[in-house]
C-alpha cells in the first residue's frame, strides 16, 4: 500500500469492546464498525457525530491508543496494527494530541514549561538547552507571549483559553505530521473558541500539519475543516468537502442533524423544528442493514433493513452511505434539504 498524498488510510476498521460477565464474553460493543477513510496530507478533516457514535474511539485507533479488532490502519504507508509497542512509540512522535478538557489534561503540579517539554523528554529528543529553545518557540507559536513568562506558570494560574494554548504547544512540540484534536474547544467560551480554532489553522498552515478535528459541533467544522465525515452508530454515513456537505446534506441523518441546530435568529421561536424520532441504536445489537433505517423517513422496506448500504458517490468528492444514492437513481427523486 503506497501512501502517496494520504497520511492516514483506514480499511474496514472495526473496534469492538468485549462485554464480560465473570469469565466469559457475552457480547461486544461495536464502537467502530467497518470504517474506511483516507486523510489527505495537509488537510483538516472533521469527524462529526453525536455522543456514542464512535468518533473518539476511531481517533484513538488512528494514533494507536486502541488496537482495532479488525481492519488495517496505515499511517504514512505503515500498517500500525502490525507494529510492536516499541515501534508504535517511535511512530507516536509524529503524532500530537489535544484533548477536550484543558483543566485536566495538564498536570497541575507541573509548570507549563515542564508539561510542554514532556514529549521531548519522554522521546529523548535534544539536550537541555535545545529543549528549552523548542519549548519557548512552541509557546510563542501558540501566542503565549512572552513565552518565558508563561513557561514558569502553573495551569491554575491560566485561563481556559491559555491552558488550551499550552496544550496545543505540547501537541506540536515534537514537530508532528499529524494532530488529533478531540473536541479542543468544547469547554471554552464562544468568544475564545474561534480564536483557538484560528490558531490551530494558522499552525497547520505554517508547519503543513494534518489535523483530525473530532467534534459534535457542525458549525465550527464548517469554518474550520476542509472535509467533514459524519459518523452514526460506529459508521461513516457521509463524507465530503465541509461547506458542500453542510449546505446540501445528502444523507437523511445529516439532514436531520442540521435541521436540529439553531442559528441565532429571533424568528426561530415561532416555529417548531422537524425532529427525527427515536434514539441512536444500541451498539451491542445494531439493526441489520442501514443503522439509521428505524428513524429514517425515506426507509425502503426490504432494502434498507436487509443489507448495509455501501458508500455511494453522490456528487463530486461526495460519498454517502444511503440507497437513495444508488446509481441509476434519478436526480429528481433525491431528497432535497430545505
Amino acid at each position: 500500500m503506497s501512501s502517496g498524498d494520504n497520511i492516514v488510510v483506514l480499511e474496514n476498521v472495526k473496534v469492538y469492546f468485549p462485554i464480560r460477565k465473570i469469565f466469559s464474553v457475552v457480547g461486544y460493543v461495536r464502537a467502530v464498525d467497518g470504517v474506511s477513510l483516507t486523510i489527505k496530507k495537509g488537510e483538516v478533516l472533521a469527524l462529526v457525530g453525536e455522543s456514542g457514535s464512535g468518533k473518539t474511539t476511531l481517533g484513538k485507533a488512528i494514533i494507536g491508543l486502541v488496537r482495532p479488532t479488525d481492519g488495517k490502519i496505515f499511517f504514512d504507508g505503515v500498517n500500525i496494527c502490525e507494529l510492536s509497542e516499541k515501534e508504535l512509540k517511535q511512530l507516536r512522535r509524529r503524532v500530537g494530541v489535544i484533548f477536550q478538557d484543558p483543566f485536566s489534561s495538564l498536570n497541575p503540579g507541573f509548570t507549563i514549561f515542564r508539561s510542554v517539554e514532556e514529549p521531548l523528554v519522554v522521546n529523548k529528543i535534544g539536550n537541555k538547552q535545545e529543549r528549552r529553545e523548542r519549548v519557548l518557540k512552541a509557546l510563542s507559536d501558540v501566542k503565549l507571549n512572552p513565552p518565558d513568562f508563561f513557561a514558569s506558570k502553573y495551569p491554575h494560574m491560566l485561563s481556559g483559553g491559555q491552558r488550551q494554548r499550552a496544550a496545543i504547544a505540547r501537541a506540536i512540540i515534537s514537530n508532528p505530521d499529524f494532530i488529533v484534536a478531540d473536541e479542543p474547544v468544547t469547554m471554552l467560551d464562544a468568544s475564545i473558541r474561534v480564536e483557538i480554532l484560528r490558531l490551530l489553522r494558522e499552525i497547520q498552515h505554517k508547519y503543513g500539519l494534518t489535523i483530525l478535528y473530532i467534534t459534535h459541533d457542525m458549525a465550527t467544522a464548517k469554518y474550520f475543516a476542509d472535509r467533514i465525515a459524519i459518523m452514526y452508530a460506529g459508521k461513516i454515513v457521509e463524507l465530503g468537502p465541509s461547506r458542500s456537505v453542510l449546505e446540501n446534506p445528502h444523507h437523511p441523518y445529516t439532514q436531520s442533524l442540521i435541521e436540529a441546530i439553531p442559528d441565532p435568529d429571533p424568528a426561530n421561536r415561532f416555529r417548531l423544528r422537524e425532529v427525527i424520532l427515536g434514539e441512536p441504536p444500541s451498539l451491542i445489537n445494531p439493526p441489520q442493514g442501514c443503522r439509521f433505517y428505524p428513524r429514517c423517513r425515506f426507509f425502503m422496506k426490504g432494502k434498507c433493513d436487509v443489507l448495509e448500504p455501501p458508500l455511494y458517490r453522490s456528487a463530486n468528492e461526495r460519498l454517502v452511505a444511503c440507497y437513495l444514492y444508488e446509481t441509476g437513481m434519478s436526480e429528481t427523486n433525491r431528497p432535497k434539504h430545505e
Partner: protein, 325 residues
C-alpha cells in the same frame, strides 16, 4: 402594561467571599418578566447568569458576602420573606427551577412517577393517590407515557430524563419556571426535541420562563426578550428582534459575530482578550479592555448607566449616551 409583570427584579446584588477576595457574581441587575413571556439570560461562563437564577430562588452557597435588592413576585417583595415563608410562598407553586445537568441527580432507586409526585406530597400535603394522578398528568404534558412513570431513571435516555425534570418543575403549577442550561448535556437532536416541548408548553399553557444559556442560537429558539450579561451586569436588554437584529452594545455585536452559523456563510470572528476577573473587575465599563470602541479617559474611568434607547431596548454603554429616549 404594569399589571401583567409577574416578576420584577431591581438592583439585585449577589457577592461571594472567597480566599482571593469578594467575587461580584451579580452586581446590581434589574429586569422584569411578564406573564407568558420568556426572558433569555445569555452570557459566557462567569458572567453571573446562573448566580442570578440562584439569587432569585434563594439557593445560595454558604460564602455569600452580600445579597441585596428587591424581587417583587406576586405583588410582594420576596427578598423580605424569612426562609420558611419563602419556601411556602415561592418554592411551592411559585418559582420552580430546572438545574443544569440535574438529570444525573434523579434518585436511581425511585420510580419516576414517585419522584415527580414528591413535591406535592412534601410541600402541598396531597394524598398519595392525588399526587400520583397529578404526576402522571405532568409526565403526559411533557410527552412521556404513563408507562415511563413506572420506570427507574437508568431505564431512560438523557432526553427522557430531562423531560422528567421539566415535569417535576411544573407539577406544582408554578407561575415562573427558571431553566438553567436545560439541554447542555444533550445531543443536538434531543436538544431540539426539548426545545420543541418548551415551545409547545409555552404556547398552550402560557408558561413564563427565564431561560439561561451561553448559546445565542439556542436562546433565539424560545426568547421573546433577551438580556445579555457580562461580568455580573446586564449590558443589553431588549426584544429578541432588537437584540439579534440590531445589537447595540459592542460586546453583543462581537458575541453574535463569534457564533459560527450553519445557514449563512459568515466566517466567525473572535473577541480579543479574556473575560474579566470578577474579584478585581476593570474600572469603568468592565468590557472596556476588550472593546474596539473604548473611549480613553471615559470608558476606563466611569461606569455607564443602563439607559433605554427605544421601546424597552436598554443598553449600558457610553456610545449611546446621547440616544437616551
Amino acid at each position: 402594561m404594569e399589571d401583567n409583570v409577574i416578576l420584577d427584579v431591581k438592583d439585585l446584588v449577589l457577592y461571594y467571599s472567597t480566599l482571593r477576595g469578594t467575587v461580584k457574581a451579580v452586581d446590581g441587575i434589574s429586569f422584569e418578566l411578564k406573564q407568558g413571556e420568556t426572558l433569555a439570560i445569555v452570557g459566557e461562563s462567569g458572567s453571573g447568569k446562573s448566580s442570578t437564577a440562584q439569587a432569585i430562588v434563594r439557593i445560595l452557597p454558604r460564602n455569600v458576602a452580600k445579597y441585596t435588592g428587591s424581587i417583587i413576585f406576586n405583588g410582594a417583595d420576596i427578598m423580605k420573606l424569612d426562609d420558611e415563608e419563602f419556601r411556602k410562598k415561592v418554592r411551592v407553586g411559585g418559582i420552580s427551577m430546572v438545574f443544569q445537568g440535574a438529570m444525573n441527580s434523579l434518585n436511581p432507586v425511585m420510580r419516576v412517577e414517585d419522584q415527580v409526585a414528591e413535591p406535592l406530597l412534601i410541600n402541598m400535603s396531597y394524598s398519595k393517590k392525588e399526587a400520583l394522578t397529578e404526576s402522571i398528568k405532568a409526565l403526559k404534558l411533557v410527552g412521556l407515557s404513563e408507562m415511563v412513570g413506572k420506570r427507574y431513571p437508568h431505564e431512560l435516555s438523557g432526553g427522557m430524563k430531562q423531560r422528567v425534570l421539566i415535569a417535576m418543575s411544573l407539577v406544582t403549577k408554578p407561575k415562573v419556571i427558571i431553566l438553567d442550561e436545560p439541554t447542555s448535556a444533550l445531543d443536538v437532536i434531543s436538544q431540539a426535541n426539548i426545545m420543541n416541548l418548551l415551545k409547545k408548553l409555552k404556547a398552550e399553557m402560557k408558561f413564563s420562563y427565564i431561560f439561561i444559556t451561553h448559546d445565542l442560537g439556542l436562546a433565539s429558539e424560545i426568547a421573546d426578550r433577551v438580556a445579555v450579561m457580562y461580568a455580573g451586569k446586564i449590558i443589553e436588554l431588549g426584544s429578541s428582534e432588537s437584540v439579534y437584529l440590531t445589537p447595540k452594545h459592542p460586546y453583543t455585536q462581537l458575541l453574535l459575530n463569534s457564533v459560527p452559523t450553519l445557514r449563512e456563510n459568515r466566517p466567525p470572528t473572535s473577541i480579543p482578550g479574556e473575560p474579566p476577573d470578577l474579584v478585581n473587575p476593570p474600572k469603568g465599563c468592565s468590557f472596556h479592555p476588550r472593546c474596539p470602541f473604548a473611549i480613553k479617559g471615559k470608558c476606563d474611568v466611569e461606569e455607564p448607566d443602563i439607559i433605554e434607547i427605544r421601546d424597552g431596548h436598554q443598553v449600558k454603554c457610553w456610545l449611546f449616551e446621547g440616544e437616551k429616549g
